[in-house]
Amino acid sequence: MNLVRAVISFFLIALVAVSIAGWIWAGGQPAAQAIGARVVLVLCGLMSVGCFALLWSARPLHGDAPVNDASQHV
């Protein structure tokens, strides 16, 4: 099941990278367009980071795969 999270995480990371690239690219655009573009790109990046953090914040008690993380044993 970690495959689901891994695949989604890949796209979230790609979105963060694209947001950064877009921020840089927007610097060469007319000011009115650059502001609008950068505002939404920042929001895209921040939401992706938050979503990534949430996605990996929970772990199963008894995973369907061996769990080696010591933090599991509470």
Binding site: M1, V4, V7, I8, F11, L12, A14, L15, V18, S19, A21, G22, I24, W25, A26, Q29, Q33, G36, A37, V39, V40, L41, L43, C44, M47, S48, G50, C51, L54, L55, A58, R59, P60, L61, H62, G63, D64, S71, Q72, V74
Partner: protein
């Protein structure tokens, strides 16, 4: 929460297809839907890379399928179809969710509803060959203040993030919510915080 998630028919064969995709086959339906959503993401991320990294002209940056089939992008059909399919899927698969996950799923649905309206406007302009606001190309409402490429990256993000949160709470139900799910999507009970 929908009543259907609490109802357990005696056998799968007695279920309607709606009950099946929101019950025993909910996991498979969500896998299929996620694949569609990620394919859509591939189009937008590829287009962004073509513009931001490869420095292609915006008009020539048509994502993945648009490179081989430019008419799909020029006619607005590709992204309108994605928007419509996603909207329908959000609605069809909603009953499989409960509690917190249902709330987030419906937030994603309503944002996608607006996203679909924007694409319907673009599709209408392409069909009738008459653009809004005297624009040389089809435009949507928020495109008046935000460039199209970034706007649709944003639209897809604000749909995708609540959708992922809904799936997260569906896979890791909050205490007391797991028992109300009629499907097998829930992974395991959530580990207590240390």
């Amino acid at each position: 929460m929908s009543a259907s998630t609490c109802t357990v028919p005696s056998s799968i064969s007695q279920m309607s297809w709606m009950d099946k995709i929101n019950g025993p086959y909910h996991k498979q339906a969500l896998w299929l839907y996620t694949a569609i959503v990620l394919a859509h993401w591939c189009e937008h991320l590829a287009q962004a890379i073509q513009i931001y990294v490869l420095d292609w002209p915006i008009a020539e940056s048509r994502g993945v399928l648009g490179l081989w089939y430019p008419w799909m992008v020029k006619s607005e059909l590709l992204h309108y179809a994605y928007a419509l399919i996603m909207l329908i899927a959000f609605w069809l698969l909603r009953k499989g969710f409960g509690g917190q996950s249902y709330t987030w799923w419906m937030i994603a649905f309503w944002i996608q509803f607006w996203h679909h309206i924007e694409h319907a406007l673009l599709q209408g302009q392409a069909i009738f060959q008459h653009n809004l606001f005297g624009s040389p190309v089809p435009v949507s409402m928020l495109q008046l203040v935000i460039p199209r490429v970034e706007l649709h990256l944003f639209y897809n993000t604000v749909v995708f993030v609540p959708m992922v949160i809904a799936m997260f709470y569906h896979m890791f139900p909050l205490p007391g919510e797991a028992g109300h799910q009629g499907c097998s999507c829930a992974w395991q009970p959530r580990a207590p915080k240390t």
